[in-house]
């Protein structure tokens, strides 16, 4: 049971320096009330990832998404701009779009056929003034459009701020945009057939925590360790925004035609690759020849869907027939790594039912990216 007084004391211990801190209390991983608290203070009050621009690639494409029970709709408008609205009709609150598709010229409510333009404006209210009378003084189209949700896109990841109170998107994303300035504005090409999802029995935070530290790599990922040793990694920490790890020995697989690199990258990226958890719920990997994004959808305190999508540097690399084998192999390699992590995050989830577990102690040297995340979350909830 989440008791707010106790939680405040426990969160104070989380924000101590890493060598003295405790991890987040177990109730934050097991209690439905904790997820409800996070729904407001983390996923509504801040920026959160809800999907990818490639979910709605063409004008008129729409994709319904659910953010902790909040029905939202991604819409690609006629100009190519991606917009996000609440996925409900302004008339009776009916869900407008039940599945990903192209809606054509307007978004039509399946209930009474009120229609909205791709930019959210109310376009038609059939029979609103009686049979065959399609206007009425009481319904002003300019005041009755779809409810817009603040949104922004970075490297094809779509973020929303439900409350409307977070800093503006450009300010929020600036630290990662700056760190990855070599990649941030490059065209990215989504590999349509390479995505996969993992339905994992753990709290969403455990996926973030596991992703952003390299400490576990030699024990959990022996395949990675064969070429990328623990000492080849470095921490990435930007308090309040993201944390993760980098490697200095990235080498693309040598089992076919190499994927093309991003053109004219600085030399440092020849061997360097970075893996960043952008708080709260997206994990990104960047390499000289491809990128992946893992969107976390927290379905319950102990259930998270990890959706993985991969991007390449050219349309041919992403979807061309000549590189099908290489794409399949690359997706399989990453899937093997992420599947290897499942027993760990599910084990930590079960561990949080131990009555005596106090949040745990960190390695002051190896766990600081995880502590960086805990510190951020504790301050958001505190």
């Amino acid at each position: 049971m989440l008791e707010l007084g106790t939680l405040a004391r426990e969160l104070a211990a989380v924000t101590r320096p890493v060598g003295e801190a405790r991890g987040l209390p177990s109730a934050l991983y097991t209690d439905a009330a904790a997820l409800e608290l996070e729904r407001k203070r983390v996923f509504s009050d801040g920026w959160a990832c809800i999907g990818l621009g490639s979910d709605a690639p063409a004008p008129g494409d729409v994709c319904p998404v659910d953010l902790l029970g909040m029905p939202l709709l991604l819409v690609r408008d006629k100009t190519g701009t991606l917009r996000v609205f609440e996925n409900v009709c302004r008339h009776r609150g009916m869900i407008l779009v039940a599945q990903k598709r192209n809606v054509g010229g307007v978004i039509r409510c399946p209930y009474h056929s009120w229609c909205y333009s791709h930019n959210g404006q109310l376009r038609a209210t059939p029979h609103v003034g009686g049979p065959g009378i399609n206007v009425h003084d009481s319904i002003a189209p300019q005041d009755t459009g779809l409810t817009p949700v603040r949104s922004g896109v970075f490297m094809d990841m779509v973020f929303v701020n439900i409350s409307g109170t977070a800093p503006d998107f450009d300010t929020w994303i600036a630290p990662l945009r700056t760190r990855w300035a070599d990649f941030a504005d490059r065209p990215l090409h989504h590999a349509a057939g390479s995505g996969f999802s993992l339905d994992v029995a753990c709290n969403w935070k455990l996926a973030i925590e596991n992703y952003c530290e390299s400490y576990h790599l030699p024990w959990v990922h022996p395949g990675l360790n064969s070429y990328s040793r623990l000492e080849d990694h470095y921490h990435i920490e930007h308090p309040g925004a993201f944390s993760g790890q980098g490697t200095r020995v990235y080498a693309p697989a040598q089992d076919g035609t190499p994927f093309p690199d991003f053109p004219d990258l600085p030399k440092v990226w020849d061997r360097q690759a970075e893996y960043v958890a952008l708080y709260p719920n997206v994990m990104v990997g960047i390499h000289r020849d491809h990128m992946f994004a893992i969107h976390l959808d927290p379905l319950a305190p102990d259930r998270t869907v990890e959706r993985v999508e991969i991007y390449y540097t050219t349309p041919e690399a992403a979807n061309g027939p000549d590189m099908t084998t290489e794409r399949t192999a690359n997706a399989a390699r990453w899937k093997e790594v992420f599947v290897e992590d499942i027993f760990v995050v599910e084990g930590m989830q079960r561990g949080r039912r131990a009555p005596g577990f106090d949040g745990g102690r960190f390695s002051a040297v190896m766990d600081s990216p995880t502590h960086c995340f805990h510190d951020w979350l504790a301050r958001r909830l505190g």
Partner: protein
């Protein structure tokens, strides 16, 4: 309805086709059928009803030419 046997038969045929296409997502075909149904309706209310449905499906189809035409028709008929 005019009441002629031919019109009644055509209306019944249109009705059957509209039911068949209901939920099909074929907005262009539904526009066409409602336009045909509107042409059969001598009563202004019944005509406006079908023009309204033709208009909605033309909007869904993104058929701007028909949308413009139907909005003119509906305005003239007092439906917009």
């Amino acid at each position: 309805m005019t009441g002629s046997h031919a019109d009644l038969a055509e209306a019944a045929s249109l009705d059957a086709e509209l039911r068949r296409l209901h939920g099909s997502g074929d907005a262009r075909a539904l526009t066409t059928l409602h336009l045909q149904a509107a042409a059969l309706m001598p009563a202004p209310g019944a005509r406006r009803f079908h023009l309204t449905h033709a208009w909605v499906y033309a909007l869904v189809a993104g058929d701007s030419e028909r949308v413009d035409h139907l909005e003119r028709e509906l305005r003239a008929a007092g439906g917009l």
